[in-house]
């Protein structure tokens, strides 16, 4: 589902963000990307949804080489990828319903179908009673779940989550992780960037460790 071959990327000419990355994530896999801050986790995720292009190397997402993908095709790639951003990226002047509906509006769904689908996913997240609230009236955990709902609402092939449990209490962390696991069971490929060692240890999944833009460890076997 995701393949990287000899990928190099630098933000400025001298600062290397990713260096010689080789990585394969199979369809239906659940992978943690971990490492200290600045190790390159978020940069790697950005490659997966076409927000960045590497200086060298190949990046294949669902069989599409993003190096050769024309800019006009990037939106269609992103429709297959649900992203949970570290800063949530919720629109403060729109309700929870409208925030989650964005993903389906882009796909051209009808208003009625959007309403049903959004209500369904918010119910799964335990947020159906907040459907008409604006994000500013929600707690951090609730905002994270809305961001997750927006990423999952169209059942994407790939789910990318950047620090989805950062600054959350244990209960919220566990809830979010369970939602991601359920999506993985339903067939989505999930990549989670996190530096929460306890969370990763408890999850028993493949872990890719990054350091200074290089993969230093890739453990398929749960520790």
């Amino acid at each position: 589902m995701i393949q990287l071959h000899n990928v190099f990327l630098s933000y400025q000419k001298e600062v290397s963000a990713l260096s010689n990355i080789n990585l394969k994530v199979a369809k239906g896999e659940f992978v943690f990307l971990t490492g200290i801050s600045g190790a390159g986790k978020s940069t790697l995720l950005k490659l997966f949804y076409g927000a960045l292009k590497p200086d060298r190397g190949q990046v294949l997402i669902d069989g599409q080489n993003i190096i050769r993908l024309p800019a006009a095709q990037i939106p269609y790639l992103r429709r297959k990828v649900g992203v949970v951003f570290q800063d949530f990226k919720l629109l403060p002047n729109r309700t929870v319903l409208e925030n989650v509906a964005l993903t389906l509006e882009v796909l051209g769904w009808g208003k009625k179908d959007i309403g049903k689908k959004v209500y369904h996913i918010l119910k799964q997240m335990g947020l159906e009673h907040k459907i008409n609230s604006t994000p500013l009236r929600l707690s951090g955990g609730e905002q994270q779940r809305v961001a997750l709902a927006r990423a999952l609402v169209n059942d994407p092939k790939i789910i990318l989550a950047d620090e989805p449990t950062g600054n959350l209490d244990e209960e919220s962390k566990s809830l979010i992780l369970n939602i991601l696991k359920e999506s993985n069971i339903r067939g989505s490929t999930v990549v989670v960037a996190s530096h929460d060692k306890r969370l990763i240890d408890n999850c028993h999944r493949r872990v890719v460790i990054l350091d200074k833009g290089r993969i230093t460890e890739d453990s398929d076997v749960p520790k």
């Binding site: 006009a72 429709r79 009808g110 927006r150």
Partner: protein, 314 residues
């Protein structure tokens, strides 16, 4: 629920051109509703900017109209040596009318010339003692078409007029016409320069106001791109918003101009020594109003289009 199920999504809401247009209009109106304050400020700025242009346009149109009226005083007087019979006079008039640029031709008889002389020297009748109509020449006063009132055109006209047999002397106030035309050319240049700068300032103000509106929503633009919206999908509602802002702004400007015009007309008698009705002040003609309205729409559209280019970079 497999992840591939999204391929079997429900029927699209915006199938066909009208479906899509309906969706984008609804989206644009919802966006305006959700960003009411910013939109009110933008529309207010647009209407004030267009109001200034509209007022200047009205002043310009009225000045042009006034100069047209003043330039009607540009006339040529043709004198002849002997008194003409009615037949000769008609033949002469026909010849004059055949010259290109001739407007109205009025015959001033000796008696009428004396009457005018009397009117001009009213109160000094002693000066006219012994003056009879016979010592004054009869003449033809010729007004020229609007296009032939410039100094050069006038000279060319007089040259052609001079070739007609029977006309012995031609007077046309050459110096006055020259000065009047120079003054009007200067006024037009000032008007065009002022208007040009004003229009540039308005375009700059409106474009920047719209840019700020869009800048305040750059997170929304970014997010739409991240969830898979195409450039067109992101741009169209913003462009429609720009068009609506321009349309509402220019409509408000036209309404304000109408109110100012009517208010001015209504109250002018109270605070001015002249009545605009007498001065014959006119409101903007319909094609100009339509131009202002369409200009506002174009401004809103182009303002949005150029601003979006800076923020949409998928």
């Amino acid at each position: 629920m497999s992840p591939n199920k999204s391929a079997k999504r429900p029927k699209l809401s915006r199938e066909g051109f009208w479906g899509q247009l309906h969706y984008f209009f609804t989206r644009a109106i919802t966006n305006i509703r959700q960003n009411m304050l910013v939109n009110i400020l933008t529309i207010g700025t647009i209407s004030l900017a267009i109001l200034i242009v509209t007022l200047l346009l009205m002043v310009y149109i009225n000045l042009e109209r006034a100069t047209d009226q003043w330039s009607e005083r540009v006339q040529v007087t043709a004198y002849f040596d002997s008194e003409l019979t009615p037949q000769e006079l008609n033949a002469l008039k026909t010849k004059i009318h055949s010259i290109q640029g001739t407007g109205k031709v009025v015959y001033v008889s000796k008696a009428e010339a004396l009457q005018r002389f009397h009117n001009r020297l009213k109160g000094q009748d002693a000066l006219l003692e012994g003056v009879t109509a016979n010592i004054l020449p009869s003449a033809l006063e010729i007004q020229l078409d609007k296009e032939n009132r410039s100094s050069d055109a006038l000279k060319a006209y007089v040259a052609r007029l001079g070739k007609i047999q029977g006309i012995t002397e031609i007077q046309y106030g050459d110096e006055w016409v020259k000065r009047f035309n120079n003054f009007m050319d200067f006024m037009r240049l000032v008007g065009i320069l002022l208007g040009g700068f004003l229009v540039l300032a308005v375009v700059f103000i409106v474009a920047n106001t719209i840019k700020l509106t869009i800048y305040s929503r750059k997170d929304e633009l970014e997010l739409l791109g991240l969830v898979g919206a195409t450039r067109l999908f992101i741009k169209i509602p913003f462009l429609i918003e720009g068009i609506l802002q321009g349309a509402i702004g220019s409509a408000l400007a036209i309404i304000l101009t109408t109110c100012l015009y009517l208010g001015f007309l209504h109250n002018a008698g109270n605070f001015l020594s002249f009545s605009p009705a007498e001065a014959n002040l006119v409101f903007l003609p319909l094609p100009h109003l339509a131009g202002v309205f369409l200009g506002g729409i174009l401004l809103g559209f182009l303002g949005s289009l150029t601003s979006l280019k800076r923020f949409i970079n998928l």
